[in-house]
Symmetry: C2
Subunit: 289 residues, 2 copies
């Protein structure tokens, strides 16, 4: 019998493309010196971080044939999968996110079938990112209802709203996503308590807030500088491992904040800086909120 | 026997991707509303313009499988073919050009074989654009020496310099390319006369200069506003048609300047605005230089 694992699902997987340029000039023509590509999308990043942590993990989702050369476990689509283009100069990183390909009803049905197969072996399921056009807006709600394992939901907008109603084990909004969900600037942690499920809200440089029926906690990381892209995915990876191991809530929050800060110190999404993670592991202060 | 035609060769064909955004913010994250793609590269654009003109044309070059769904006449490469990304906002267009894929010796050899087959039926050959990594820097020179038909060469840098030595029928540099070729700001048309082959140099809004052993001419277009991307390719298309028909040099120059201006009035590379072209056809003044 195959070993148990954490399952991440990325319906809108992407090819992350990075262009390095000297200076980004609006209205200019740029000869791109260096083109770097990697398979991306939140769930792919979460799986990469879990792999670096040594956790058993499997990633699935929807991907075209080009992307499936890098994501062989994904369900094929007629495609084309979306790309994200990040233009990196010495000054800053500028991102362009394509919306994603049109998904047919049978492609979505194929993902449901694959999900049932894999989720039967999952200790924790993580549902990640946007839904591409054509996937029912209650797509994540469908997966949560089918899942035999607890589900962490990391998405935005209506898929988050409908997913919430299906009772995930934990949601992981950032401040913008939480604001959109509530329809106003959140009062933390009070507003989270009203959502009916545990909420781990990331607050950028201010750390994170965890609200559960057992209590609420705040954790603040030391200041780190680097690339915040993918920090939220490292946070989610830590939540998935903690849920799988039954880590107590405050320890889980501290670990997620430390791993997230260590991801900021790593240059690429889906990775974290191991020395930073080990250094921060004992240093995160968690207080009841 | 298959009909005779104009052959365009694009060793570094591209997928031209256009992202529409409201405003380009340096350092920002942009959700791209509309993604438009088309097969591109100079020779593809030249062939598209010739098709719109009703001229018999065939396009070949090197392309990966994704691009070959749109360019079936191209020789397959392991790829991936390069992309060009144009970010269009209301204010301006910002371009990012990837360098192109690594081409193997046998992929280049396959293009030579295909070229021999097609060039035997060509009245005029047009060699267009950059050479991707791996193609010998004398790649265009090789094609010029093999060609049974007169060759128009539209490229830059060392491929232009080496191609020139192989004796093309005509080269079509823009002012930047001519400056790089000469190593200094050109004195027109005197400097062109020293290059040993006919030169049709495009000068942006100032029109174009044609230098041949029969004489030299300058032509200036009326002011037009629009998208200059692809205007040079329309210019080259007119040169190819004129060479095929044996159009006298001054008439050929006037026609190329008119078609180029009509391309500025069209929104996409590879097309021209037909009413503008017909309106300008009699209005271009050509003077001896």
């Amino acid at each position: 019998m195959a070993a148990r694992m954490i399952l991440t699902v990325t319906p809108n997987a992407a090819l992350d493309v990075t262009y390095r340029v000297d200076t980004l000039r609006r209205g200019g023509t740029h000869r791109v010196g260096d083109v770097h590509t990697r398979a991306g999308g939140k769930g792919v990043n979460v799986a990469d971080v879990l792999t670096q942590l040594g956790e058993p993990v499997q990633a699935t989702g929807l991907a075209d044939d080009v992307l499936r050369t890098r994501l062989p476990g994904f369900v094929p689509i007629a495609g084309p999968s979306r790309r994200t283009v990040t233009v990196v100069s010495d000054e800053e990183a500028t991102l362009f996110n394509e919306p994603g390909p049109q998904i047919s009803a049978w492609e979505w049905a194929a993902l449901l079938t694959e999900f049932d197969l894999l989720a039967a072996r999952a200790d924790v399921v993580v549902l990640c990112g946007s839904l591409p056009p054509g996937v029912p807006v209650d797509g994540y709600a469908q997966l949560i209802r089918r899942s035999p394992a607890p589900v962490i939901l990391d998405t935005d907008g209506e898929p988050l709203r409908q997913g919430l109603a299906a009772g995930p084990a934990l949601i992981k909004p950032n401040l913008d996503e939480l604001t959109r969900l509530l329809g106003r600037k959140p009062d933390l942690p009070a507003d989270c308590a009203q959502l009916g499920v545990p909420v781990a809200a990331t607050l950028g440089a201010k750390g994170a807030c965890l609200s559960t029926s057992d209590g609420a906690w705040l954790a603040c990381p030391p200041a780190v500088t680097g690339n915040a892209t993918g920090a939220g995915d490292a946070f989610t990876a830590a939540l998935a491992r903690g849920l799988r191991l039954g880590t107590p809530w405050p320890d889980l929050l501290a670990d997620a904040v430390a791993l997230s800060a260590a991801a900021v110190c790593a240059p690429v999404a889906g990775t974290f800086d191991d020395p930073t993670y080990r250094r921060l592991a004992g240093l995160i202060t968690v207080r009841e909120a």
